[in-house]
């Protein structure tokens, strides 16, 4: 295992200290609960859709620096994206968390998410990084819940 100090990239520490889009949305279409019962991390994700486009994305809750920074970055990166664009990014992120790094990673659509590339060396923390993304994916992939608000 490598030095765990490398886990805490500057951008992760920054988003942990000052999470973006933190707090409820006034009138979300969907509220998603993301929790890991093993460690107690719990977040709520607030999603506002305009047709297929993510119009606003907020979150709040409690978790480690990795899960909180990942949720924060997610809200900044997915705003304005279509559902399928969001799912593509989620897939690339998951791939990065679970596999060896590739040459093209820096230039890829992952952008700032590359800060999480060290997480794959800490198997216990992959769930932290993916926590809110997976929860959001579960509602994005279910058309039903997107067309019928569940708030």
């Amino acid at each position: 295992m490598s030095n765990s100090h490398h886990l805490y990239e500057k951008i992760i520490l920054d988003h942990n200290r000052a999470p973006r889009n933190f707090g409820k949305l006034p009138s979300p279409d969907i509220i998603v609960e993301a929790s890991n019962p093993l460690c107690g991390d719990t977040f709520q994700i607030y999603l506002q859709l305009d047709g297929n486009v993510i119009q606003a994305l907020h979150f709040e809750g409690n978790g480690c620096a990795i899960s909180k920074a990942s949720a924060s970055l997610m809200t900044t990166l997915l705003k304005g994206k279509t559902k399928s664009e969001a799912q593509n990014l989620l897939e690339s992120f998951q791939t990065m968390l679970n596999s060896e790094p590739t040459e093209s990673m820096e230039e890829s659509e992952l952008g700032e998410l590359v800060a999480f590339s060290e997480v794959r060396k800490f198997p216990m923390r992959i769930k932290c990084a993916a926590l809110t993304w997976r929860a959001l994916d579960s509602v994005l992939s279910s058309d039903e819940s997107c067309t019928h608000p569940t708030k």
Binding site: N3, H5, Y8, G63
Partner: protein, 409 residues
């Protein structure tokens, strides 16, 4: 075996794993409330059993079966005497505290409980001393009542007395909190429970390796503990309780080894302890536990307690030098458990960074979510002490926490 004379002279050399390096630095093990490391004598006892004595117990006529049976039953006697029980008690081997409490809840439920009866537990219980009683309440219509605590992490005894009444049938309380380290006044609790005719069960998971235990002196009906938190093997624990009462309780599991006779119409059961030990028991585990108890007794429970108290006092003092550190659990009477939060740093990130220095602590809710809710924290970081820890271990912890503070200013 080394002797435990002061808080820097420890027993590290008796524990082979403590010579191991983690990420290139020597292991500093401060997760003893989760499980303790095993001394060489325990490891040797397990190896000796499997290489020289392995056989099944109770039913064999051959030599090895008799040896295994003798050692298994000797282990039972050893545990009984370690817990200060006399022959009115029965010692039943279980897989650990969890199974021991489930066994007691199951048997007591059918024997005692009617709708509207009450079971008393505390705000600081581990999930394993909450859920079996909660499920039992659902099944029987009994009610679960909770003894509250103060901010310092001490039971509010006047509230306990207020809650205790003629409907209280069971009082199940932890001896020592796995999160706060609080040592509860269990003698008083058991005596008051007895006055009301309630059965008491003391969860000794966090006390049996740290304090002198005498079930008769405590006045408890049941006392439960787990070997792996007492420098013994995983997978074995103990329920010690009144033989007469246990004989009236219905079996928890059924199968071989616990029956007098079986026909397709009816089965009659043996008396305790066999009645509650269906199937092949964890023979090697019982033998390993004996070695662990011998190790504890040879070291001396009083010496262990005083060693850990010195370390606790030192640790409490130096931890507070870390900026933004708050110790959760400030009871007057504590064992060596130091739960804390660090402002602006999640406990998981603390534990992750400490691991880098070979320091093993635990972070999370410690299977005590109602207690986390009481303190309004999602999780804590917890350093828990054992007999081999030293002042240097605490210093390393504090230095590493200063580094965490630098990473998360």
């Amino acid at each position: 075996m080394a002797k435990l004379t002061d808080y820097n002279n420890n027993l590290q050399n008796d524990f082979p794993i403590l010579g191991k390096k983690i990420h290139g630095t020597p292991l500093i093990y401060l997760d003893n409330a989760a499980t303790t490391q095993k001394p060489q004598c325990v490891i040797d006892a397990l190896v000796r059993f499997y290489s020289e004595e392995n056989s099944n117990v109770h039913r064999g006529l051959h030599y090895l079966s008799q040896v295994a049976t003798e050692h298994y039953e000797a282990a039972r006697k050893r545990v009984t005497s370690f817990l200060g029980a006399d022959d009115t008690y029965s010692t039943i081997f279980t897989s650990g505290v969890t199974e021991a409490i489930n066994l007691a809840a199951h048997g007591l439920g059918t024997l005692l409980l009617k709708p509207k009866d009450e079971i008393l537990i505390t705000q600081m219980e581990h999930h394993s001393n909450i859920i079996p009683w909660q499920l039992l309440c659902e099944k029987t219509g009994a009610q679960l009542r909770i003894i509250p605590i103060s901010d310092a992490g001490e039971l509010l005894m006047e509230e306990f007395e207020r809650l205790l009444n003629a409907r209280t049938k069971i009082v199940a309380v932890t001896h020592v909190s796995n999160v706060l380290g609080t040592v509860n006044p269990i003698r008083e609790i058991c005596s008051k429970a007895k006055e009301q005719g309630a059965i008491s069960l003391i969860d000794g998971a966090q006390s049996a390796a740290h304090l002198n235990i005498n079930i008769q002196d405590i006045g408890a009906d049941f006392f439960v503990c787990s070997a792996h938190k007492m420098y013994g093997p995983t997978g074995i624990g103990v329920l010690c309780g009144p033989a007469e009462l246990l004989n009236r309780m219905s079996p928890y599991q059924s199968g071989s080894g616990m029956v007098e006779s079986v026909t397709f119409e009816k089965t009659s059961f043996r008396t305790v302890p066999d009645k509650f030990e269906a199937g092949t028991p964890h023979i090697a585990g019982a033998i390993g536990l004996t070695a662990a108890l011998d190790y504890l007794s040879d070291t001396g429970m009083d010496a262990i307690e005083s060693h850990e108290q010195q370390l606790l006092a030192y640790g409490t003092k130096v931890l507070t030098s870390v900026e933004g550190l708050r110790i959760i659990g400030n009871a007057k009477k504590k064992t060596g458990v130091l739960s804390f939060t660090l402002e602006n740093v999640h406990p998981h990130d603390i534990a992750q960074l400490l691991d880098n220095d070979g320091i093993a602590i635990r972070s999370g809710h410690h299977c005590a979510q109602p207690l986390m809710q009481f303190y309004h924290v999602p999780a804590t970081a917890r350093a828990s002490l054992g007999i081999y820890n030293s002042k240097q271990d605490i210093d390393s912890l504090v230095n590493a926490l200063h580094t965490v503070r630098e990473v998360f200013p």
